[in-house]
């Protein structure tokens, strides 16, 4: 047995990739999470579900922002899972000053906080606003566009789990075609969410010509940290859209959150890219391209696609969307082993 183990080719996923801490690589390339000195914006004990992608994404994003600002950070939160699972009074997970006002106004509230800091000559205090995809792409969209258009000094982070999870998994404008939600049930002639709908908020953000837009994923935490750090070094309106799987809403295993997030990018459905002033400045190439089936199959919200020929046709259509992303962001270009 021990001989077999010795012969087995062990793959250290913590090395050369972007998983927790990168503890096996040299100091300079480790993630902040590997440091004993790391900041802690959201402390443990909150009430997120097991395997919550949003909790992970928010902790990494805000820890990085805290580090980048040397703790001079104020967070504004839209109503949603993140707000609910981190706070019910008198408990709070937030180690930063934190304000929740309403579902649809986090960008505007953040603009107000930034204005107050500016007028008080405390520009070193930076502002991060955050919300889920519903709070961002739907109900908060007007305020977000306004904040972008004014180029207010706010980093807005959207934690995208592709539906209204806090209210019980209803469709949002970030829900992908075919996905089953409580309001797009997997029944009828076109089960799940329909094709030809939804909006791509990173591209819309870019259309505002704001200084920085990026997509990120909880499967690439080092990349996520790098993007948040970069965003915090810039003044003006910035937008980061983070892909955060939701085991509850997607019908996936809690321990598969990172794997599913990785598959979403590796299949091309969730491209990781950056843009400055409306122009794409870079993308993270796909390292091991996978067909969309591999991403779809572990999620119950797509289970109906695997039942018949019609489902296969719709999978093919999703594959075409993934391929279009790959082409658009040049995700299969030749690169060195480690892009960072």
């Amino acid at each position: 047995m021990s001989d077999m183990t010795a012969e087995q080719k062990v793959k250290f996923y913590q090395k050369g990739t972007f998983t927790v801490g990168n503890r096996l690589v040299d100091q300079a390339r480790r993630s902040v999470q590997a440091s004993m000195e790391r900041s802690n914006a959201i402390t443990s004990g909150h009430r997120a579900c097991q395997g919550c992608g949003e909790a992970l994404g928010a902790r990494y994003a805000l820890d990085t922002a805290m580090r980048a600002t040397k703790g001079q950070l104020i967070a504004v939160n839209a109503t949603g899972c993140l707000e609910v699972f981190t706070t019910p009074y008198p408990e709070t997970s937030w180690q930063v000053p934190w304000l929740h006002s309403l579902f649809g106004n986090a960008p505007a509230v953040a603009s107000g906080v930034a204005a107050a800091m500016r007028v008080k000559g405390r520009q070193q205090v930076r502002v991060v606003a955050q919300g889920g995809d519903g709070g961002t792409t739907d109900i908060g969209f007007g305020c977000l566009s306004g904040m972008f258009e004014r180029n207010d000094d706010v980093l807005y982070i959207c934690y995208d789990n592709e539906a209204y999870m806090n209210t019980g998994v209803q469709r949002s404008s970030a829900t992908p075609p075919t996905a089953r939600t409580a309001t797009t049930p997997a029944i009828g002639p076109e089960p799940g969410n329909v094709f030809g709908t939804g909006k791509n908020l990173p591209l819309i953000a870019m259309a505002h010509n704001i200084p920085y837009v990026a997509t990120a994923s909880v499967a690439n935490l080092h990349d996520l940290e790098r993007k948040v750090e970069k965003a915090m070094a810039i003044r003006g309106a910035r937008y980061i859209h983070i892909f955060v799987p939701c085991p509850l809403g997607w019908g996936s295993a809690g321990h598969d959150t990172i794997r599913i997030a990785r598959l979403a990018s590796e299949c091309g459905l969730f491209p990781l890219f950056e843009a400055a002033h409306g122009e794409v400045t870079g993308s993270l190439p796909i390292r091991h391209k996978v067909p969309v089936e591999e991403y779809l199959r572990p999620q119950k919200r797509f289970a109906h696609l695997f039942k018949d020929d019609d489902g296969s046709a719709r999978i093919a259509r999703l594959q075409r969307m993934a391929d279009a992303n790959i082409k658009r962001f040049d995700l299969l270009r030749d690169v060195e082993e480690t892009p960072l």
Partner: protein
Amino acid sequence: MLKQIEGSRAVAEAVGLCRPEVICAYPISPQTHIVEGCAELIRAGTIQHCEFINVESEFAALSVAIGASAAGARTYTATASQGLLFMAEAVYNAAGLGLPIVMTIGNRAIGAPINIWNDHSDSMALRDAGWIQLHAETNQEAADLHIQAFKLAERLSTPVMVCMDGFILTHAYERIAMPDQAQVDAFLPSYQPRQVLDPADPYSIGAMVGPEAFMEVRYLAHDKLLQALSVIPEIQQEFKEIFGRESGGLFHRYRLEDAETVVVTMGSLAGTVKDMVDERRADGVRIGVITLCSYRPFPLDALRRALQGAAKVIVLEKSLALGFGGVLATDVRMALHGVDTLVHTVIAGLGGRPITRKSLARLFGRVERGELKDPHFLDLDLDLVRREIDNQRNQITAGPIAENILRDIGPRATKVG
């Protein structure tokens, strides 16, 4: 300093004297001249250390104000009508968070049918949101109330709406005694927030409260407004000591001595009513006026005492609770609960319908003769209304009421008197 000045401009200048730090606004008639004035005063450097933010909606305007106020900035915005309703969710939120934002309402009707003229439907719709609501009778008072409003808001850590009649006050030029900076500085201390977003002392503000404490939190918000019943007169007195004039308070009394009939009203209408009262008094009629300044909190006890000697009360209001009747009248009846006083509800001036001396004379005459039915709609064209009721009854596809009414009226100018 006396100035011949538009009401909106006076408000903008008065707000400027309060050393605001963040002003955000979305334009809506009849509030526009106020925020244009603020923008200009900031650009010109007259108001210093202040950010002016042009936002994309009223919902954003108050949301920006919420963020700025929670971060410790003295914050101001203004709106009206549809704008106030569009920000309704944030109106409740600002009060719930205890943020001392001051907001002007240029009172205007609510559609449909869309109507830009004055009545009190807008602020009435948000009367229970937890804001203090002060109504200005004149432009002098509108300017003065803003200065008082910041002090009141910050002393109680609660937001204040200063309501002024759209166009009638906002666009009227009057002679106004504009306060100077030294007076305002002496009156209004710098803003010390009760809670503030500060990395050195991080609070979580706006978290969830469940059934175990929500009642108590709500009760405390109610109690805070009741505290305002004593703070408003205190601030009125402090204002008088520095500026030398009466402005604000719970309500104004006019010729109440020995009055058998008292008209209770709110806002600019009081001017016309006072003129009429002078006329009736000259004819020997014992009539007086109470002009409410503080609508929320509503001064139940003080009003009850003030109305003690009256046999008849005429509540003259620019608001209507559809399917119910008077709004202000209901509150006044509450103040007179258990007292044998006849209270008349008179709905007047909706959507900017002029309230003329002639109409008021007719009204008072009918009250004196005991002919008034309750509620009374001042200058309502009953024949016109009845024709349209018949029309609607007779054909299901009768079409839009507003269009039918206007077709029926024909090419006639706005009905006056």
